[in-house]
Symmetry: C2
Subunit: 219 residues, 2 copies
DNA sequence: AAATGCAATATGCAACTTGCTAATTAATGA
DNA sequence: TCATTAATTAGCAAGTTGCATATTGCATTT
């Protein structure tokens, strides 16, 4: 009653690098599409994975040495044609990783700006597009963009992260006022960031806060 | 390298009935859990379904005679234990259907208020919970709740739908003002709803409008 | 025919938010 | 000490929002 089905997971790993939103693409080691840059992914292993998310974490840990980052399920893509090997179903995830936590093996992977991408295999173009949509949509009224920063950050860094993640300019003054009024941050010790100018106070996200009613951007 | 995997789709069909948000549960005709009320669902058929959504529409059409309603992918649930038959993966969907478009075969299915549910098989309890969360979260700044109304509706009906969908009271006066300012509705002919009182103007959603920046509820 | 009941719809307003622009503050280096 | 630059505050006009109070249009009742 049920034929063989190919079940996989794929990750859209986003980060901020050089003031731009970038995605991690791996060079595929095997067929199909051997040698092409593609979203990192792998098979779900029924014998060892507790579920799809578990499989995704295993793959990300193995392929990219990643752990302790923000991960949310994006959507599931399926059909007979998306993978030349046959009817397949892929659960895609959105991962947000601070740049300094990404250690890329340059012989196998690289960062690409999300608005200047090479042709991608399978339906990875669509998946990537959906991932950016999700970040932009949900990011405006949630702490998602802050997941692209290290645990501790300044308001200027947070402001910049939101601008990059949402792909729009946000008035710095209003941003500070709104963020502070939302009461989603806790203070930390201070530090000067750029080395020369006035030092900025540092903050961290309060636990459990993820979404709010007012928007931090958009219009 | 890949064992047999069970691939299914499940639907959380929500509607407004008697002023409450309700879900359609089907009585399972076969094992496992034969006879229990559960989310309607079925196998993905690789030989005839173009993808998971296609399978979902086929199932809903066959089991409930539904077509032309709002359907969005919710999330995918997987693991070795959720289905006693083995490692399974289920793509869940959220369907929003106007009450008058639902024709339930009472010998096979029934409506249950989402805040007073029977015990559910598999992980259907969690899926249902996630579906309601989605409606409440996304509904505050989107036209989702209006999908629970017929094509044409009055502002009072729309207001009531948002209150039920979001599970909170919303000031009627502000609601009207905001909705009209958002410019997401187009006028229709008028009609009196309750028969005796002042007749209300009717509206329909403009095509393509789905989300907006201001919130229609929440705080 | 006028008064009444009710929901639909509109008005008024004080309190709050928001986008801008213009200060002020804290380091650094000349 | 002063100029420079980023961090952080202030000030304000314009726009929004919640809430309370009218008004309006039918149907039914006096």
């Amino acid at each position: 009653m049920q034929l063989q089905i190919i079940a996989t997971v794929d990750a859209v790993i986003l980060t901020i690098d050089g003031g731009a939103l970038k995605v991690v693409l791996h060079e595929r080691p095997n067929d199909p599409f051997q040698g092409m840059a593609a979203l990192p992914g792998g098979y779900i292993r029924e014998d060892e994975d507790k579920n799809a998310e578990d499989a995704m974490r295993r793959v990300l840990s193995d392929k990219a040495g990643l752990s302790g980052f923000y991960l949310e399920q994006l959507a599931t893509y399926s059909g007979p044609d998306r993978d030349p090997r046959g009817w397949s179903i892929s659960v895609a995830y959105l991962a947000l990783v601070p740049a300094d936590q990404l250690k890329i093996d340059k012989s196998k992977a690289a960062l690409f700006p999300v608005d200047d991408l090479p042709a991608l295999p399978f339906d990875h173009g669509r998946i990537l597009h959906d991932a950016v949509q999700r970040l932009r949509g949900k990011g405006a009224y949630s702490t998602l963009p802050a997941s692209l920063l290290s645990k501790t950050f300044t308001l200027s860094e947070m402001h910049a992260a939101y601008e990059v993640a949402l792909g729009m300019q946000i008035d710095a003054s209003s941003f500070r006022r709104k963020v502070l009024a939302l009461n989603i941050l806790k203070d930390r010790a201070e530090m000067r960031q750029d080395g020369n100018k006035r030092p900025a106070k540092t903050y961290a996200l309060k636990e459990g806060v993820t979404t709010f009613n007012r928007t931090l951007g958009a219009t």
